[in-house]
Amino acid sequence: MEAIIVLFLSGIIALFLGIYNQPKLTTIISVIGLIGAAIVQHYPLNILPAEYNLLEFNQVGNGFVVLAILLTLLIVLSGQKEFLEEKSHAGDYNALLLFSLCGGIILIGFTDLFMFFLGLEILSIPLYVLAGSRKGVSESSEAAVKYFFMGAFATCLLLFGVVLTYGATQSFELSEILSKTINSSGNAMLYVGMIFILASFLFKVGVAPFHFWVPDVYQGSPTVFMGYMSSVVKVVGIYAFIKFFHMAFGGLYDFWSTLIAILIGISMFIGNLTALVQTKFKRLMAYSSITNGAYALMAILYPSALSDSTLWVFMLGYGTSVVALLTISMIVNDDADEIASFKGIGYRKPLIGLVAIAALLSTSGIPPMTGFFGKLMLFSSVWSYYPWLIVFALINSAIGVYIYLRLIMTIMSKETATDTKEVIVSISQTIVLVLSLLLLVAGWLMLLCWK
């Protein structure tokens, strides 16, 4: 709770500093706010009376909050160069990211459907604005409109599902819904409500068959905000998805688990097979995020997902590599967004090459990167429940290796792209690259801190 207050206040301050045209100060404020929020979350002060606390964080929840804050911090740092180019809007961008993160934290800690809905909307609304922030570019406006309409539609579905669920259980509390659903098998209204909620969740996290908005929106949005959508929003969204279904509909596991498993299997193939033929980098990342979102969602299939570190490690590896790759994309590409313009960048700039190799190997799940440990833990947890899905996932890992390895070969090529321009890496981007390299190579050691 205190973390949200810290984030919100620093967001407000950033907005005001934006008015007085102080772009550098807004950055400093938002970085301080983010670090402060992470500290307050990890070492709570408990100054608020308990009855104000509608949010609950267990150890895993805390871990996810810190992870979301960490990823946002990396994104804010890597986007500074672009923020500073538009001085008058730097404050807005920083502030909106922080506000959105507030929603994300509520979405991790919710205990009833009110807070859940609030969190979801606070997370999404700033993003509709940010997706369209390149006002001169038509793709950006397209992305914003698409994202808004799709998001609004998903919200409608969600509300309808919530209403039906309330009708069947007479409660908004997750724990009460759970106790009612365990006993009331055969209540058709409950099942319909659950299906609606499921559909809206699939929309939000971009899993087949509701994945089609992902590539367009990701490609149209500015790279920084795409980084936020594909890392933080995915992390938070999937955690909320799993929490919702385990804590409210845990009694109906047999009903939804097979359905979700099949959808996960389909998404993995759709994401990967489409990514095979992409020539635009952001589109490739969008399809790869569909696949990785599907991997992460596998955690919903085993009962102890909310009480162990499996999903956290997977998300750490995935989120960091997305941020690292998009930072590299920001350094290399302006608007063309062609994969071909990455050619030889890693050979000329060893730091970029090293980070790119680490990030791509991590997403492919090759040891000793963090992504490997995430996949290993995830796959071995789900193996006892859905072995066929793990076989599918491994096949997809192999396809994924093909995709990412080609990217490595492009980035590390000795030849360079034809129209080579000078590559400038700003200080904040260097910090992001070094930090993400550390997280990718040694992030899994943080597991030693888990009890």
Binding site: P367, I390, V391, A398, V401, L405, L448
Partner: protein, 476 residues
């Protein structure tokens, strides 16, 4: 612990060594690691297990345990002694030997290999196994002539195999609630499950060795790789798979061996004969040696599946012998290729007249490759053929054709490249480092050929343990 750390340290230092002294640094560094391996060899008490590092304080059932027994020590010593020979034979290829990144990658590769041979935990083994792929891939990519297609084929092929192994480890580890080697050994499986699990392992090892239908990545990769890359692949990386079969696959899933035994043996025999026939018609000398490698390894793989003491001792000798011969043969191929700018046998006629020293040493390596008496190959192949014949007469008979075919293709390659009227005007004779490599190799081959007991004694006790585990489960 210094055994593993030294390679990482050497690899990291390589990035910062001045460019003009990197050659010397690489050579000296690799000799230091070889010296450490020799110290371990001297201090080793036969039949004991030496634990290098051990902790169970790790997440998700991974235990960090590394250590070696006799078999592991043989592989460690092989790795650490072969790497200096590879760097030495590469000493004059300025494209690679004067490159800092190249040396760093070789040392990282060595680290991965040592990890594979010392890991006493399934996941740790897998991590090191996959880790070796990264440096070797980068060596092939930056310093080789391979097209992206060839490299992707190599990487994806081996990776798919590894994923099969990962799946098997996960399935096995969930049964044992731990991935530690000793815990995995204790798991008993019903036959059907064992069959699935062993297939996963087999996929990984069959692709890496490579066995007959999985071999298609190998000739292309070997031909396009730089010489040092080919040597790393054939002399060391393949041995990971053979080692994995002996130490991991068969003892962990002895219940499944009966089902796949014949499959592997038949595939191996097909590989022996098929690759040998291709060799006989082969015009490209590097490709010829690549196929010869498939043929030789088929015999070793068949020997492993018999899993008796004598067979495994023969396998161990052949593992060492094949590494030495592979280095010799690929060095020969590289000398011919770099000086004549061609790999076609028909363009090489009469080299022996121009370069008599080269002709002499090539002859020695060629004879070692066809396993004449007094060479290590003679002892190894003889033991393996004896065991295969005892196992089944037809298998022994068909495998024995490797001796005949081997002589035919090796001597044919020698004759076509060395004898006849010289086609070329000049051919620079051997340089000092190449002569040194040949002398070292020949000493080792003849040394083992005359005194094979040194290897048999080293690995004997650990093989006995594995055989006891195997027999206990299969007779139940």
């Amino acid at each position: 612990m210094e055994l593993l750390i030294i390679t990482v340290v050497l690899g990291l230092i390589s990035f910062f060594v001045p460019r003009n002294s990197i050659k010397l640094f690489g050579l000296a560094g690799s000799f230091v690691s070889a010296a450490i391996a020799i110290i371990h060899l001297i201090n080793f008490e036969t039949g004991s297990y030496v634990s290098i590092f051990e902790t169970t304080e790790m997440p998700f059932g991974l235990t960090f345990q590394i250590g070696y027994d006799g078999l592991g020590l043989m592989m460690i010593a092989l790795t650490n002694l072969i790497v200096p020979i590879i760097i030495l034979s590469n000493y004059n290829n300025s494209a690679t030997s004067e490159n800092r990144v190249f040396h760093a990658l070789v040392f990282f590769m060595q680290f991965g290999l040592l990890g594979v041979f010392t890991a006493a935990d399934g996941i740790l083994f897998y991590i090191f196994w996959e880790f070796t792929l990264i440096p070797v891939f980068l060596i092939l990519y930056w310093f080789g002539k391979g097209t992206n297609k060839v490299l992707l084929k190599f990487f994806i092929y081996t990776l798919i195999g590894s994923l099969g192994m990962l799946l098997s480890f996960i399935a096995l580890g969930l049964k044992a609630n731990s991935f530690a080697y000793s815990d995995l050994l204790a798991v008993h499986l019903p036959a059907k499950e064992a069959c699935w699990i062993i297939s996963g392992f087999l996929l990984a090892f069959a692709i890496k060795i490579p066995l007959f239908p999985f071999h298609t990545w190998q000739p292309d990769t070997y031909t396009s790789a730089p010489m040092s890359g080919t040597m790393l692949l054939s002399a060391l990386m393949l041995k990971m798979a053979l080692f994995g079969m002996i130490k991991w696959m068969i003892p962990l899933v002895p219940e499944g061996v009966a089902e796949i035994k014949w499959l592997v043996i038949i595939l191996s025999v097909i590989g022996i004969i098929y690759a040998a026939i291709i060799c006989i018609k082969q015009q490209d000398i590097k490709r010829l040696f690549a196929y010869a490698s498939i043929s030789h390894l088929g015999l070793i793989a068949a020997g492993i599946m018999v899993f008796t003491k004598d067979a495994l001792v023969g396998v161990s000798i052949q593992i060492v012998n094949h590494s030495l011969i592979a280095i010799g043969l690929f060095l020969v191929a590289d000398i011919l290729e770099s000086r004549l700018k061609t790999r076609e046998l028909s363009h090489m006629q009469g080299t022996a007249t121009l370069a008599p020293k080269f002709g002499f040493w090539f002859a020695i390596i060629a004879f070692a490759s066809v396993s004449v008496p007094f060479s290590a190959g003679f002892i190894g192949e003889f033991t393996l053929l004896k065991e295969l014949t005892e196992f089944h007469f037809a298998v022994g008979l068909l495998s024995a054709t490797t001796l005949v075919f081997g002589a035919v293709y090796t001597l044919r390659a020698y004759q076509l490249s060395m004898f006849g009227a010289p086609k070329n005007e000049t051919f620079e004779d051997l340089r000092w480092n190449e002569i040194l490599v040949f002398i070292l190799l020949t000493n080792a081959i003849v040394g083992i050929g005359l005194f094979p007991q040194c290897i048999a004694d080293l690995v004997g006790p650990s093989l006995d343990k594995l055989i006891i585990i195997f027999n206990e489960t299969t007779t139940h």
